[in-house]
């Protein structure tokens, strides 16, 4: 197991490097620069600015410098928020995003798995059909469409929940963003669980467990649930990526001051270091999370050889 983990760990490095390089050179290749303004700066001032930010060095050298700083956890200064470094901005935005995304993921797994398992146990009943049609709807309605509709219903028509912002940080403010972030994932996970659960319930070892006379509860919890959850575990990687991407719009819609909002605003303001920082930060997060998911999968599934 340890050598497998090590191998996977080493294998993740090229991915990370390519990711960072891609982001770095893509931004540098873009027309326009961070000091473009309506009134152009005097040549010497701009030259000094460029020198201060090391923009006058050859590109490979800049890239090397960026990588070195990155290793030290330094994402560079923000061009737009003059008094902050990108690291500081990430550190203020990320906890908010993490709370949002973490809650949404937890909700998605809990509800998705239980609803999916329930539907599988009553396959072809009205409950099953209801769950499947609702989840198909959930998959088909993107979260940026769902979010305004939820606001319209619960905040404007019914007035039960606040429409946006974090306010005093009370849980009520989190309900709508978390729910709209979680819904598509709930839908997807419930379909996934249902499918694999149905397959597992038909398998020989479950039949054997039943033939031994084990009570239904033990058959389900001890024997069926674990293998049925394997596809869900491997979906957690893509799910995280989806939640992170989704939170970019969700934060925009609800005015939540998270990392996603910095990303969109940074991109629109051409705040290169900030945008780059967010891409690298989230990219590394996703790669690392995928790695963890793979390792957990290998631990859970006795058929995986390493």
């Amino acid at each position: 197991m340890l050598s497998y983990a090590l191998k996977r760990f080493i294998g993740a490095w090229p991915t990370l490097l390519i990711l960072i390089a891609l982001a770095f050179f893509m931004i540098r290749a873009a027309p326009g620069g961070p000091f473009d303004a309506e009134r152009s700066l005097p040549a010497e001032v701009e030259a000094n600015l460029r020198a201060a930010y090391h923009l006058d060095e050859p590109l490979p050298q800049q890239f090397g410098r960026y990588l070195l700083n990155l290793v030290r956890g330094d994402f560079g200064p923000s061009f737009q928020y003059k008094d902050y470094t990108v690291t500081e901005l990430i550190m203020t935005g990320f906890p908010v995003s993490l709370r949002l995304g973490g809650l949404a993921m937890m909700l998605a797994v809990l509800i998705g798995v239980s609803v999916g398992a329930l539907a599988a146990l009553r396959q072809n009943s009205w409950l099953d059909h209801a769950v499947m049609s609702v989840s198909m709807t959930g998959i088909s309605i993107p979260n940026f469409v769902m979010a305004p509709l939820l606001i319209l219903l619960f905040a404007i028509f019914l007035g039960w929940l606040p429409a946006g912002g974090l306010g005093d940080g009370s849980p009520a403010h989190l309900v709508l963003p978390v729910v709209s972030l979680a819904l598509p994932q709930i839908a997807y996970i419930s379909r996934l669980t249902r499918g694999s659960m149905i397959e597992v319930l038909r398998s020989n070892f479950v039949r054997t467990a039943r033939a031994k006379g084990l009570p239904q509860r033990v058959v389900l919890l001890r024997h069926a649930l674990k293998p049925a959850l394997l596809p869900v575990v491997s979906y957690l990687g893509p799910a995280t990526a989806a939640v992170i991407t989704g939170s970019v719009v969700i934060e925009q819609i609800f005015g939540v001051p998270g990392l996603g909002r910095y990303f969109v605003q940074g991109a629109l303001n051409r705040d290169y270091t900030l945008v780059m920082g967010v891409v690298v930060f989230y990219g590394v997060l996703i790669v690392v999370f995928n790695l963890l998911v793979d390792l957990v999968y290998a631990l859970l599934d006795p058929r995986v050889k390493y």
Binding site: M26, P31, F144, V264, V279
Partner: protein, 296 residues
């Protein structure tokens, strides 16, 4: 079921029924998929021909009719937006863009995916290993962020949307095609072609690719809604098509800002978008069941 499907895939002429007639027969029995197909056809016709039914143009500003609610008499069937533009016509024009992007970008990803996957699978060995390793690495990339970067950095033109979205969606296709190719290349007709000295890329084109189309069809119907989703996501962020042209994502975004006073500006485009995605997903599911009953 599964063996029947395999038989039809490998030797269609013996059964006297091709893979496609077989699949269509099975698809026709799937009521949800048929309904979805009908709705989608109606939607497509409406999107193409519907704007002619309205006296208004998509960028025409009716200054006397700002934010009016849906009304048949005035000709604003779905009402108007904040600067008096007709929501009905704009929704349909947005639909043209969304559907067009969906189809074209899917074709782009299809071409890349088939070429890449079939090459990797057919040549096998080191080539395959290297090519699939590249796919693995790319798979881990948060592409959505890169697409956003691209759109911001290089301006918002529709051609770039096609290419960018197509270029991120081919990975799945490449994997599936490669898997199919690996099993296809051991078939007798490929061996026969090799024995006759047919060059590799000709074999891929004439013998491998046509036999892949069944699996590919399923993924095409499942990729189109994904692509439409990505496009509307970008448009929602204001990075998609440019004003006064519009797409469903952009309309939902505008509607979300007006929804307190004028919910119809949000509801109509949202329903059109959701409905289209819904139908494509149902057809894709149905097609998957019809062509490959024991998939995944």
């Amino acid at each position: 079921m599964s063996t029947a499907a395999e038989v039809t895939v490998s030797t269609p002429e013996e059964k006297g029924r091709s893979l496609w007639t077989d699949a269509i027969l099975r698809l026709r029995r799937n009521r949800a998929a048929v309904t979805a197909a009908v709705i989608l056809t109606v939607m497509t016709v409406l999107v193409i021909a519907g704007p002619w039914l309205s006296p208004y143009d998509y960028d025409y500003t009716d200054w006397d009719m700002i934010l009016v609610s849906p009304d048949l008499a005035s000709g604003h069937f779905f009402g108007t937006d904040g600067i008096g533009r007709d929501i009905y016509v704009r929704t349909l024009y947005g639909g043209r863009i969304s559907l067009l992007v969906g189809v074209v970008a899917t074709m782009v990803s299809l071409l890349i995916g088939i070429a890449y996957g079939a090459t990797a699978g057919y040549f096998g060995g080191r080539v395959d290993h290297l090519m699939m390793r590249i796919v693995d690495i790319l798979y881990a990339m948060p592409f959505m962020f890169f697409v956003i970067l691209l759109m911001v950095m290089f301006g918002r033109n529709i051609l770039l949307i096609f290419v960018a979205i197509g270029a991120i969606n081919w990975l799945d296709m490449a994997r599936i095609v490669r898997g199919q190719t690996l099993s296809l290349k051991r078939k007798e007709f490929v061996e026969a072609a090799e024995a006759l000295g047919v060059p590799p890329f000709r074999i891929i084109r004439r013998h491998i690719v046509p036999n892949l189309l069944g699996v590919v069809a399923v993924y095409v119907t499942l990729t189109i809604p994904q692509v439409i989703l990505v496009e509307s996501f970008l448009s929602f962020l204001g990075l998609g098509v440019q004003e006064p042209m519009t797409s469903w994502g952009a309309l939902v975004n505008e509607g979300a800002q007006e929804m307190e006073n004028a919910p119809w500006t949000l509801v109509f485009p949202a329903v059109f978008l959701a409905m289209t995605l819904f139908c494509f997903n149902f057809i894709g599911d149905g097609l998957r069941d019809a062509l490959d009953p024991k998939d995944r």
